[in-house]
């Protein structure tokens, strides 16, 4: 049995400790908001927070989470910042198919936690690991700026 702390809840899982957090969350805990995109740390769809830091859950084994707190897209709205980012996403009309957006939001919240007023360069650095096949990048950028309280500058 492995104990996993997710969004404030404890889960006892009967899996080996090399199981990536992604699959433990999705297939064992039953939290499917965290997405599978590549399985190789190439796309960011599986991003969750481990003690507040963004990680790629597809390549991070459960063993790395022992004694730590995982936050997923299902739980991120509980924080003021998380909620602000989600609202900005809706306000800027970011989503298309939406599949990548859990990961995008988790990366964005992690960025804003460290850096309350990110520059374009900071946004590039923090977000370039997250692929959006629908290419909603410009709106992701605007939404991050909006959440940071900067003018989002969406063209008319």
């Amino acid at each position: 049995m492995i104990t996993l702390n997710v969004n404030g809840d404890q889960h006892d899982l009967d899996v080996t400790d090399d199981t990536p957090i992604l699959w433990a969350l999705r297939d064992v805990v039953g939290l499917t908001g965290t997405k599978f995109g590549c399985g190789m740390s190439l796309c960011g769809a599986c991003t969750v927070h481990l003690d507040g830091k963004p990680i790629r859950s597809c390549v991070t084994p459960l063993s790395a989470a022992s004694g730590k707190e995982i936050t997923t897209i299902e739980g991120i709205g509980a924080s003021e910042l998380g909620k602000r980012v989600q609202d900005a996403w809706i306000e800027q009309e970011v989503v298309q198919c939406g599949y990548c957006q859990s990961g995008q939001i988790m990366s964005a919240v992690a960025l804003l936690k460290e850096n309350a007023a990110p520059s374009d360069q900071d946004i590039d650095n923090a977000m370039s690991g997250n692929i959006c096949r629908c290419a909603t990048y410009a709106r992701i950028r605007s939404a991050i700026k909006l959440a940071a309280g900067q003018p989002a500058a969406k063209e008319a």
Partner: protein
């Protein structure tokens, strides 16, 4: 002037037949209320039923319950293009309700009831969603409104003309009395539907044409949106698969002795051409699959490579093709011309790489089969499952889900068939999830095209004759054979035959050539291929004539006012005629393209830089769109932004290679996607228009590819005739 072929399909099917009422049961009871059926195949001939659960007719489109909640049974699948928001807008406009009061439900698979007015089958593709629903949905809303007003007027004993509808209520103008729709629906359900409806004058639109927040956004930002891959069914197990690495290969044997040692492993399932491992969760399934020792019989295709495929298609293109368009005598004039230009254009195989990897969940039981999947073709999925299970078609229940991207990939049911074959061998529900590697290596690919194009040039440098000889796989021949007439695949030539430029002699023909691997539609379909060739070649002609690419095009667009207008506006918005400032390093260039496809006109100007290492960085795209009447302007913008970057990704980097019959790319490290730091500024301008709505999901992709290649030419002097651009620039 382009008009949608609305009348072509209207009324070809007699509607209003109640006999199919019991054909299928809606999965969720909507309760008592007003239920209005109408046809997307014709002019909204409506049928009425009283909405008790017993009498519920399944082929209904809108339902208003006693709380005033409006439900549309949606016949389109949301893939990201905003249809779930556009369709409620159409209903809400005429029904006079708030868009947020309109709920959507997936249509059960029933071709006749939910067929698309343009495609004639329940398919989400070809940029048809809003185009096909534009009139029927508004008419349905108007009918329901008229009936509700009638009931209120009867109750108040006043004339209906003295009443109007507003915000989900009927109002009696002289007295200001109001009654909510919910109180009227039961009686309205007993009225006959009015036959004549008057639609609003577009100038009175309150909702259509105004930006509306996407209705699906909240669930997509908090993790609750359910995509096919997220399905949870009691007792479900997870499977992952490996298909024969060589197309057409067969499974010989599997040794699972190592796999059995993995915690969570359940069993191996053998198919003719694939192996699946079923486990408690994906990690165990993945590990189990990796631990198998599999022996394949590669079959007859183990030898081919990108080089051999290219040689085959080049050879095939020497044949004469089936004639798709003939005006005047282009071949004769070109053969005899002193001044002519000839080129060969090649477009590579492409994978779709939807963000949500391919998946399908199936439970096969003796008396029925349930399938949970995100598909663009629920009816086809149902038919295939019925065939494979031997069950009657109505015993197959498709539970359609959100699609984490479609782009043409989810028009195919290969993976549904595979999942059914796996599920048939067990007595519990199984979710089959492909790894990204499987997704890329067992896609159905956008075909390789090999186009020979030539023109005879007159004394002004304009094309007097134009010949476009297309060679490639016919997707339609497999997908919808009836569409192929006299050897011409309409998709393979789309964008080539309806040339907007005034050229007196035009000849377009098509040679079908099938590679030994499966091909399929890809975002922008025919036009993504042909517009690239046409718009690159017209650029070559402009350069050859020593003329500015925009001016050269404008002169030739004299008979195409909408195409000309978008180009003029794009040139203006992009400051086409002012030179770019020189970049700090490398070279800069601007390129242009014009498109007419899917009922939409687009002109784009691309600005980019090419550095010393031949790396291309697209800085800015100005896109002018005339897509007729715009239902949700922000959706059009979003589709252009995304479609353009999708196209740039394909143009710069997209290519699937083969060696020994196997796909060489496997994941995002070698099948490159555009990322945040590479995304250009995309500026979208909409031309106000009263024309019928055109498609928006695909043409942005089709238009941008040649604009990028033309900008690369402007920057470097190198004409890219073989995509992708990155490869063309780095190899001599």
């Amino acid at each position: 002037m382009h008009m949608l072929p609305e009348t072509q399909t209207a009324d070809t099917t007699a509607r209003g037949d109640v006999s199919r009422r019991d054909f299928l049961k809606l999965s969720s009871g909507l309760g008592i209320g007003l239920l209005l059926e109408f046809s997307l195949l014709g002019t909204a001939c409506s049928k009425l039923g009283i909405g008790s659960k017993q009498e519920f007719t399944p082929n209904a489109f809108i339902h208003i319950d006693q709380d005033g909640v409006v439900t549309i049974v949606a016949h389109k699948v949301e893939m990201g293009q905003g249809t779930y928001t556009s369709m409620p807008m159409l209903i809400a406009e005429e029904l006079e309700v708030d868009v947020s009061k309109v709920k959507l439900q997936h249509a059960p698979p029933d071709d006749k009831a939910y067929g698309d007015a343009l495609l004639g089958a329940q398919i989400t593709g070809g940029s048809t969603s809003v185009r096909g629903a534009w009139k029927p949905l508004r008419e349905a809303g108007a009918r329901a409104r008229m009936m509700l007003i009638q009931v209120a007027a009867d109750e108040w004993k006043v004339r209906p003309e003295t009443c109007y509808a507003e915000n989900g209520e009927v109002v009696h103008q002289p007295t200001g009395r109001r009654v909510p729709y919910g109180d009227l629906v039961e009686k309205a359900a007993r009225l006959p539907a009015p036959t004549a409806v008057t639609l609003k004058d577009p100038k009175d639109f309150k909702i259509i044409g105004k930006p509306v927040h996407r209705l699906d956004a909240p669930s997509k930002v908090n993790g609750t949106a359910e995509f096919g891959i997220d399905v949870k069914v009691p007792d479900m197990k997870i499977a992952t698969v490996s298909a024969s690495p060589v197309f057409g290969g067969k499974l010989v044997s599997v040794d699972d002795s190592e796999a059995k040692k993995i915690q969570g492993f359940q069993q191996v399932i053998k198919l003719d051409n694939a192996v699946a491992v079923i486990a408690d969760h994906m990690w165990a399934a993945k590990q189990g699959l990796a631990a198998l020792k599999i022996t394949w019989d590669d079959g007859e295709h183990a030898g081919f490579s990108s080089t051999s495929l290219r040689a085959d298609i080049a050879k095939a293109s020497e044949a004469k093709g089936a004639v798709a368009k003939k005006t005047g005598n282009a071949p004769g004039i070109i053969a005899a011309a002193d001044k002519k230009l000839e080129a060969v254009y090649e477009l590579p195989f492409l994978a779709h790489a939807t963000m949500e990897p391919i998946n399908c969940t199936v439970h096969v039981q003796d008396d029925g089969c349930d399938i949970w999947v995100g598909t663009q073709v629920p009816v086809v999925a149902q038919m295939v499952a019925a065939q494979l299970t031997g069950l009657a078609q109505d015993k197959v229940r498709i539970h359609n889900h959100l699609l984490g991207g479609g782009f043409g990939r989810r028009l195919e049911v290969d993976s549904v068939a595979q999942a059914v074959l796996i599920a048939k061998q067990v007595n519990f529900p199984v979710k089959v999830v492909w790894s990204r590697e499987e997704d890329i290596q067992h896609d159905m690919y956008r075909p390789y095209y090999y186009d020979r194009i030539s023109a005879a040039i007159d004394e002004h440098g304009n094309p007097e004759a134009w010949q476009h000889h297309i060679t490639g796989s016919s997707i339609m021949a497999r997908f919808f054979p009836a569409a192929v007439k006299d050897g011409v695949d309409p998709d393979a030539v789309e964008g080539a035959t309806d040339l907007q430029y005034a050229v007196p002699n035009v000849y377009v023909d098509y040679v079908r050539h099938e590679p030994p691997l499966p091909t399929a539609f890809w975002r922008g379909v025919g036009p993504t291929h042909n517009i690239f060739v046409v718009e690159s070649f017209i650029d070559e002609l402009a350069a050859h004539a020593g003329k500015d690419p925009v001016e050269y095009r404008l002169a030739l667009l004299k008979n195409a006012p909408r195409a000309k207008a978008v180009l003029e506006m794009a040139a203006e918005k992009a400051n086409w005629f002012s030179p770019l400032s020189a970049p700090a390093k490398g070279k800069a260039g601007k390129g242009v393209s014009v498109l007419f496809a899917f009922g939409t006109y687009i002109a784009q100007v691309v600005e980019l830089e090419v550095d010393a290492d031949q790396q291309v960085r697209v800085k800015k795209v100005v896109c002018v769109v005339d897509c007729g009447y715009t239902v949700n302007p922000d959706t059009v913008r979003a589709q252009m932004e995304g479609g353009i970057m999708f196209g740039i990704t394909g143009a710069l980097w997209g290519e699937i290679h083969f060696d020994q019959g196997r796909v060489q790319e496997s994941n995002f490290h070698n099948y490159r996607m555009m990322r945040m730091n590479e995304a250009p500024v995309v500026e979208v301008h909409l031309v106000p228009s009263q024309e019928n709505p055109g498609g928006i999901g695909e043409p942005g992709t089709s238009a941008v590819m040649p604009a990028v290649a033309n900008a690369v030419f402007a920057a470097t002097g190198k004409r890219v005739r073989k995509l992708p651009i990155a490869t063309a620039l780095t190899t001599a």
